[in-house]
């Protein structure tokens, strides 16, 4: 895949400009954390990135956008829909194949969801829902992870473990976070958005906690 480049573009949400005059370059292989107060444009930036590389993207939106009536197995499998034919997908919907059960099962055990595989998503806790959404993104096996606060409902320990697992499976990643600590320890680069523009863009190693607090003023 090639780099993402924004040269003075404006990102819109409906009639309002969320990020204006955006200058940004993201290179393959980078693991980038997005920080900023809510409404700063993190989601809009992720959506813009997804639109530019739809087929390379493992997508994990903030509203998990799962299908509530279907099982964890089926929701994770949805990440792979595009890899298989329509008939195979429909048959797997009615009766999961042994192969898919094994593949999805392996992933589910890494995510701590193995006993929930046959449970529908509307019966899960918030943390389990987030892990299912991450599972769907992981199972799509795409090089670029775009995730919007994917671990916000998990406790600190679990969140870090899951974030590291997810990052290790993707070549490139852009992840919006609200945990500043995670941004500094798990990522190469931190981009801070606030007041409609990029306020901060630096390698994670050069940043300290107090550098980030300005963003939230």
């Amino acid at each position: 895949m090639s780099a993402f480049r924004f040269r003075g573009e404006t990102l819109w949400r409906g009639p309002t400009a969320v990020l204006s005059d955006l200058h940004l370059e993201l290179n393959p292989g980078e693991k980038v954390a997005l920080l900023g107060p809510s409404g700063a444009g993190k989601t809009s930036l992720l959506e813009a990135l997804r639109a530019r590389a739809l087929r390379d993207t493992a997508w994990c939106p903030q509203n998990p956008a799962l299908v509530p009536a279907l099982s964890v197995f089926h929701n994770i499998y949805m990440g792979a829909l595009e890899r298989y034919g329509t008939l195979y997908n429909l048959l797997n919907l009615i009766r999961p194949t042994t192969y898919q059960q094994r593949q999805v099962g392996e992933l589910a055990s890494e995510l701590g969801l193995v006993d929930k595989l046959r449970v529908s998503v509307d019966r899960l806790s918030g943390g389990q829902v987030q892990r299912t959404a991450l599972g769907r993104a992981l199972y799509s096996e795409r090089p670029v992870l775009l995730a919007d606060e994917p671990v916000s409902s998990l406790d600190e320990e679990q969140a870090r473990a899951l974030l590291q697992l997810t990052l290790s499976r993707h070549d490139t990643a852009v992840v919006a976070l609200h945990q500043q600590e995670q941004a500094l320890t798990c990522f190469d680069r931190v981009i801070g958005l606030a007041r409609g523009c990029v306020q901060l863009d630096a390698p994670a190693g050069q940043l300290r906690r107090h550098d980030l607090t300005d963003l939230y003023q």
Binding site: L54, W59, A65, V67, A69, L70, M78, A80, L93
Partner: protein, 494 residues
């Protein structure tokens, strides 16, 4: 003093408008009681209702089975057709087509198919399945439109549309589909029974004979069997049994035609061609023919249909406002409500067409039996829905007097929903009013029925098209009014 601008004011004005239209309709309507001794007839009817005779009907089991068979096959056909149409719901042409086929009443479809497929199971199945496809299309289409679009959007880029639909769209609405299908089956049982009035061998066929010949005990027994069938639907309609029932329905009444060969071709190319064109005349003669049909049949038919429907709407509103406390937890006591509930369920289960038929026998031919039947049936439904809605209200202040509580606490809160239910039902009232013509009340159905009886199918078809246009107009009027009054449309009221 400044001008009064309240939301309640808008509702009052709309109510006043509808009430005024209703009053004018009542003034114009033929409300005569032409039977000399309605009291005596009513007494005989009451006697019959308390002494039902379950042995009087021959081949009762067959009629019951045929009613069920038509309903199951009709709903299956309607659901399959409606589902297909719902997939194309974004196309205006599909919406118009669905609206048109559901605007034609099951009985009119029955009369049409009698000419093509004869007195056969296929006629019964198509008469239910075709309009139901239009209804299912609308309801399914709206379910899908209102479903959350995000899961489909979150699928990996490049997923094909068929896969997307079955994994991320259909599962969101599947439960709603199933619940609605069960409700439609109840409606289809009513429709199948009523198809007996045009000669198909369902329960209605025997009901018509029994009531017309004064066999009220026999009629009452048939009615009670019908109530029991619908009242116990929850018990026998199990998800896993549906395929079994459907198979049994197809085996019992195979949907085959008994019409003569080439009947469809003859119907389409000869029967429904306007008579002047068929006889070699030109457009000028056809124009005269159409103008004559318009002034002599369509115009009085439309006018009478509107008169009966608007009068029925007013009476429905009054009845519903008076009766809804019976179904509301804010009034009365528990045993009273249980009794009221039973009465409401019975009146609701009785098709308005059958109710009108019985009232016609008691009161003699005029518009009165039609207005009463429509108002009673619909009034009870609206009362029931409004009462159920009032369950969600938590009274702020405990007014001890029931009437004060009614006027200050409950009515202002349920009124918008009451009005929405009423306007929603107006479309259905119009549809039913037209078909009451088959019983002799001079609405559009009366002229359509005469057209079929005189083998003037060309006239019948033009009148059916006019009925469709009238339905579409009323539908649009009701929708505009609901939107202007900012009323939420309750999906369950359909």
């Amino acid at each position: 003093m400044s001008a009064v601008v309240t939301t309640a004011g808008h509702w009052r004005r709309a109510t006043l408008l509808l009430a005024l239209a209703g009053l004018v309709a009542f003034a114009l309507a033929d409300l005569s009681i032409s039977r000399g001794t309605p009291g005596a007839e009513l007494q005989r009817l009451a006697q019959g209702l308390i002494t039902p005779d379950f042995t009087a009907t021959d081949a009762l089991g067959e009629a019951l089975a045929t009613t069920l068979a038509f309903a199951f096959q009709g709903v299956a056909l309607g659901a399959a057709g409606g589902f297909t149409l719902a997939l194309l719901w974004h196309r205006p042409g599909v919406r118009f087509f669905a609206a048109s086929i559901r605007a034609v009443h099951e009985l009119f479809w029955g009369l049409i198919f009698l000419q093509i497929t004869g007195l056969s199971p296929l006629t019964g199945v198509l008469a239910i399945g075709l309009p139901y496809a239009g209804i299912f299309a609308k309801v399914f289409g709206e379910f899908l439109e209102e479903a959350d679009p995000k899961p489909a959007d979150a699928l990996p880029g490049g997923t094909n549309p068929v896969t997307t639909f079955f994994t991320a769209r259909l599962p969101l609405v599947w439960d709603q589909f199933r619940a609605y299908g069960a409700y439609r089956l109840e409606c289809a049982l009513r429709a199948a029974a009523i198809l007996g009035f045009i000669g198909l061998p369902t329960l209605g066929f025997h009901m018509e004979t029994a009531f017309r010949e004064g066999g009220y005990s026999q009629g009452a027994a048939l009615l009670y069997i019908f109530f029991a069938l619908i009242g116990t639907q929850r018990l026998w309609l199990h998800r896993r049994l549906v395929p079994v029932y459907l198979l049994a329905a197809v085996l019992w009444a195979p949907p085959l035609s008994s019409g003569p060969d080439g009947a469809l071709k003859r119907f389409l190319t000869t029967d429904i061609v306007p008579a002047p064109l068929r006889d070699g005349g030109g457009w000028a003669e056809s124009g005269t023919w159409l103008a004559e049909l318009g002034t002599q049949q369509a115009l009085p038919g439309v006018a009478n249909t509107l008169v009966v429907a608007l009068a029925a709407l007013l009476l429905t509103g009054v009845l519903a406002l008076a009766l809804f406390p019976l179904a509301s937890p804010h009034f009365g006591h528990r045993p009273g409500r249980a009794l009221a509930h039973l009465a409401l369920v019975m009146v609701r289960t009785t098709p308005e067409f059958l109710l009108a038929f019985v009232l016609l026998i008691v009161l003699g031919p005029s518009m009165l039996p039609g207005i009463l039947a429509l108002a009673l049936h619909t009034g009870v439904i609206v009362a029931y829905l409004t009462g159920r809605f009032s369950e969600s209200i938590r009274p702020q202040r405990g007014y001890s007097q029931a009437l004060t509580r009614y006027g200050y606490e409950i009515l202002p809160r349920v009124y918008p929903n009451f009005l929405a239910f009423l306007l929603y039902r107006f479309e259905i009232i119009i549809r039913e009013t037209a078909v009451l013509g088959l019983l002799g009340i001079p609405t559009l159905g009366f002229y359509i029925d005469s057209g079929f009886a005189e083998f003037r199918f060309d006239r019948a078809l033009v009148l059916i098209i006019i009925t469709v246009m009238m339905n579409l107009a009323v539908d649009a009027f009701s929708r505009i009014l609901r939107r202007r009054l900012r009323l939420q449309t309750p999906a369950t009221a359909y």
